[in-house]
Structure formats: structure tokens, C-alpha cells
Amino acid sequence: MRHDLTHIQRWIAPGSRVLDLGCGDGQFLKTLQEQRQVRGTGLEIDEANITECVAKGLNIIEQNVDLGLGNFPDQSFDTVVMAHAIQAVHYPDRVLEEMLRIGREGIVTFPNFAHWRCRLHLGTRGRMPVSRFMPYTWYDTPNIHFCTVHDFEALCEERNIRILNRYMVGNTDNKPRLARAWPNLFAATAIYHISH
């Protein structure tokens, strides 16, 4: 499993109720279920991913996050997770608000667009970066709202969202110190634990 996801587990109480928005193939939810005994529900729209999640024995709802989450009652989950999906929704700010309406706490991870490699790519070649973490060309990508560590924190401040914890992952596992010291420049992936 991606090691950013391993880290998140510590923020999730054993036995709690977790909603995973855009849960992909369900690997993270499956691990949470096994290691933290959470009662998990995933939301996903990709058909192959949904079948994969069902095969893993997960509870999965076919639902498009972009079309709203109004069907989930207030505070009906302990934690709402959105891992590497917020950059792919139409209204990230609204999804954040919804996450914290539905859950007591939220966990968001996203690729940091201000990472030095992105900057270098854009700065020297003048073209949209394509990398392992962002493996899409600009015209054929699900990612429509890239942001940076600074952007995300500014949005949280504007919306009175508290940042309980943050964790920065460098582009290789051996540079955690740089990522922590200068996250906006050195974090490839940013992970936030938030609440109202």
C-alpha cells in the first residue's frame, strides 16, 4: 500500500465508522478494516473498481461525489476520508464542507502541485508535469483542481477548518525531513487530518 495511506491509519480510532470517498479498488478500506476493525463504507464510480471492492468483501456504494452527498446524514460517520481524489472533483471546497458535515473528522490527501519537480518541469519545459503521482496528460486527466500545500491551508483558514494533524510525504521515502521542513516545496503528497 502507498505509504501515505499507512500513515493515516493512526488517526482512525479502532472500531469507528469510516466513509471513504472515491475509494478506488478499496485497498485502503480493506486494510483499515483488517487492522483497525473499522466499519467502512466506500463510494466509487469506476465499474471495475466497484467490482474489485465487492470482491474484497467491502461495503461499497456506487455514487458520484460530484453530484452531492446530501443523502448522508449529519455526523453519521466518525471519519470521512478522501485520498487522492479531491483534485478530481468539481467543487473541492463544497466536498470539504460536506466531509465535515457527515463526519466528525476528515482526512484529505492530495498531490502537491508546488513540489519542486513540478515547478522545475513547468519552469524549464513550460509544459504541464507528467509524473508517477500525476500520470496524466493535461487533456486527458481526471484531475481538474490541482492545488498546493499553501492553497489548501489557505482554504481551511478561510472556511474555519481546523487542521488537527498534517503529514508530508516526499517523492522518495528517504527525504521525509525536507518534506516536513519545507512542505510546499518538498512534499509530493500532502495529508491532512481536519475537523470543524
Binding site: R17, T41, I50, V54, L58, N59, I61, E62, Q63, S76
Partner: protein, 382 residues
């Protein structure tokens, strides 16, 4: 007729009948003095009795869900696409039971059976039934077969409603509830179509207030019309367009032609209607549509489906089909939302399909894949 039984078929199957002599108290307050249930089973019950799956049939369905009764049978059972070795409801793994409900007309006690009090067929005097009565009668069958807890209870349409009712009435007797193309209650439009079907039947002169059996007659026209109405609602606009378009079966559009224009779809509906009127009982159709009309999952739980589902102990699998307008995906999502709010484990899929309500019977690849994946999970828990 199959030239040879396909490898993924349950093969030649035999119908069984079981008699229950203890009276059954019905939701309407009347008592049914004993009853017969006709059923089929596919696969083997394991030593602990933990691999049993119950199939609940839809409005006009019956016990013959898979395989063939003989090599002369033209078509296999109604859900042969999903039941068999290697199919979603895998008979190599599960012991599958499919029955004809009471009130039916395919061997279980119903309006065409003899009323022991009069020595004559029940006809219109057969007591009105609710989905819960079916569930109670199915419990007797489970006891008879030695099944304390079903690995899964599965149903499409009205069958899905029975499965949900099981989850509330006997929460400890099923582990998984599979609800396909169903709803927690009918919409006004659904009620209207059912009323239209019933009116078609009762206004047939041969209906004779439901006592047609006394006259050795059947309200064939009315039944056929009822079926045609039903059939239209089970298909989608796309399905009809794909299947028939505006193709002519006879006649032509030329002016002055003596023959009237007849579209393919007209002859198809007439064929379906006449087939049905020859094989289905009018009083049963009225009884079944009424049971469907009166089904309301949450009525006795303060009309709160969340409160209702709080009684369930099983996991749920809910599936809907994009072009189903009889039980639209929105109706299935109501079920799912209530289950989430009640903190019940639920999986929901919405299958893209052109076939309308009937899609639940069709071999749609994605549907079969995800249904199989869920049933493997059911099997692992056996």
C-alpha cells in the same frame, strides 16, 4: 428444447411439493387451514446447513428458476442466467431453493386450489395476502428443509420486497439480503398500472366476479390485456426500439392497401398476452398485484425506513438498472440511504442497461460480474 444440457446448467430438475397442516395466520386476520408449497432445489445442502440460498419470485413468477424439467422444455427456468454451476448463484457452492408462493397458480395453495370448507376451488374467496404472509410460509419451508439461517435471500422486483421483509421479520435467519430492482413501496404510477391490469381482468365478461372456474371459463382477453400493460412497463423505450423499432409484421403504409398496418411490437404483445392468459390464473394475478400494492416496508415502523432497517442484522446488496422506470434507481437509492442511516452494511450498484425493469433477468456482463463477486463473499461466510 435444448439439444444438450449446457455445462453451466443445473440440468434436469424435479419439482417437489410439501404439505403443511398447521394453520397459517395471515396478515388480513384470516387463517389458512394448512397449505401446500411447491419448490425446486439446485445444488447440495452442506453438513451444517449453512450454504442455503432462497430465491423469492416476482409478480407472476414461480418455482422453476433454473434448469429444465425435461429435454422437451423449450426454455430453462426464469433465472437460469444467474443460477447454475459457475454462475452468480453458484450451485457448486450453494443449495438453492426456489418456490411458488401461496396464492400462486403453479402448484402451491392458491385460488385454483380446493377450499376444504366448500369442496370447491377458492376462486375470489382466497384470503388476501401480504408479502409477510409469504415470508411466514417460507419459514415453514426452511424448517422443513432443516435450514436455520439462509446464507442469502435473493429476489428481484416483488421478490426483493419479500427478501427485505425477511430481514425485518426474521433477522436471525438470513446473513445476506439481495434486493434487485425493487422498492420499499410502490409509487402512485405503479399503483395506477396495477389497477389498470386488474380492471382489464375484472371487466372481461368471462371473469364472472372471479367465479369463472365454476363456468369452466377463463377471462383470457382481460388477462392478456393485463399482461400487455405489465409487459410495456417492464421494458424501456430503448429496449422496445431495439427489439421492434417500427418494423411491420404485415400490411404496409401504402394508402388504399386492404390490410391494416400491423407493427412487430403489436404482434409481440399479443403473443405474450395470449401465452400468459393460457398459463396464469386471473384471481392469482389480482391477488399478487394487490400484495404488491399494499407492500410498504416502513408502515408499521412509524413510516420510517431507518427505524425499520434498525431491526435487520444481515448485510445487504442492492442493485438497480439505469432504464428501469417501473422501479427506478432512485427507488433503490432510498433503500440504500435508509440502510446507511440505520448503520447496516450495504453495497449498491447501478447497472447501465437498456432493458428496463426486465434487465434483472438478462445476462448483462457487469451485472453478472458484480453479483458474482458479492455471492462469492456470501459463499466465504458459509
Amino acid at each position: 428444447m435444448p439439444d444438450a444440457i449446457p455445462a453451466d446448467s443445473v440440468g434436469i430438475v424435479e419439482t417437489q411439493k410439501v404439505r403443511f397442516d398447521e394453520p397459517l395466520m395471515l396478515a388480513c386476520g384470516r387463517e389458512l387451514p394448512g397449505f401446500d408449497l411447491v419448490y425446486e432445489s439446485y445444488g447440495e445442502l452442506n453438513a451444517t446447513g449453512s450454504n442455503a440460498v432462497l430465491i423469492c419470485h416476482a409478480l407472476s413468477g414461480h418455482h422453476h428458476a433454473a434448469g429444465y424439467h425435461s429435454m422437451d422444455e423449450r426454455k430453462p427456468g426464469w433465472w437460469d442466467e444467474c443460477i447454475g454451476p459457475g454462475k452468480p448463484i453458484d450451485t457448486d457452492r450453494f443449495f438453492v431453493v426456489s418456490l411458488n408462493n401461496i396464492g400462486g397458480c403453479h402448484g402451491s395453495t392458491g385460488p385454483t386450489s380446493i377450499n376444504p370448507e366448500t369442496g370447491k376451488p377458492w376462486g375470489p374467496d382466497f384470503p388476501p395476502l401480504r408479502a409477510r404472509d409469504w415470508v411466514h410460509s417460507q419459514v415453514r419451508l426452511a424448517d422443513h428443509l432443516g435450514i436455520d439461517c439462509w446464507a442469502a435471500i435473493i429476489g428481484g422486483s416483488l421478490g426483493g420486497m419479500q427478501a427485505m421483509r425477511w430481514s425485518l421479520e426474521y433477522p436471525d435467519r438470513l446473513k445476506h439480503c439481495v434486493v434487485i430492482a425493487a422498492a420499499m413501496k410502490l409509487s402512485a404510477q405503479n399503483l395506477a398500472f396495477n389497477e389498470l391490469a386488474r380492471q382489464a381482468i375484472v371487466s372481461d365478461p368471462a371473469f364472472a366476479d372471479g367465479r369463472y372456474m365454476d363456468n369452466d371459463a377463463i377471462p383470457a382477453q382481460g388477462l392478456a390485456l393485463a399482461r400487455m400493460v405489465g409487459h410495456i412497463t417492464y421494458l424501456s423505450d430503448e429496449a422496445m426500439a431495439n427489439k421492434f423499432g417500427r418494423d411491420l409484421r404485415s400490411g404496409s403504409f401504402e394508402l388504399g392497401e386492404a390490410d391494416s398496418v400491423e407493427f412487430q411490437v403489436q404482434s409481440y404483445l399479443r403473443y405474450q398476452g395470449s401465452q400468459f392468459s393460457g398459463s396464469f390464473d386471473a384471481n392469482t394475478y389480482i391477488l399478487m398485484t394487490r400484495a404488491l400494492d399494499y407492500f410498504d416496508l416502513a408502515r408499521e415502523y412509524d413510516n420510517d425506513p431507518v427505524k425499520a432497517f434498525a431491526h435487520a442484522r444481515c448485510s445487504f446488496f442492492v442493485a438497480s438498472f439505469s432504464t428501469d422506470w417501473r422501479f427506478s434507481p432512485a427507488r433503490s437509492r432510498e433503500i440504500v440511504d435508509a440502510l446507511i442511516e440505520a448503520d447496516r452494511p450495504v453495497t449498491y450498484v447501478e447497472i447501465e442497461a437498456d432493458e428496463g425493469h426486465d434487465a434483472f433477468l438478462m445476462p448483462i456482463p457487469r451485472y453478472l460480474d458484480v453479483f458474482s463477486a458479492y455471492m462469492r463473499r456470501v459463499g466465504e461466510g458459509c
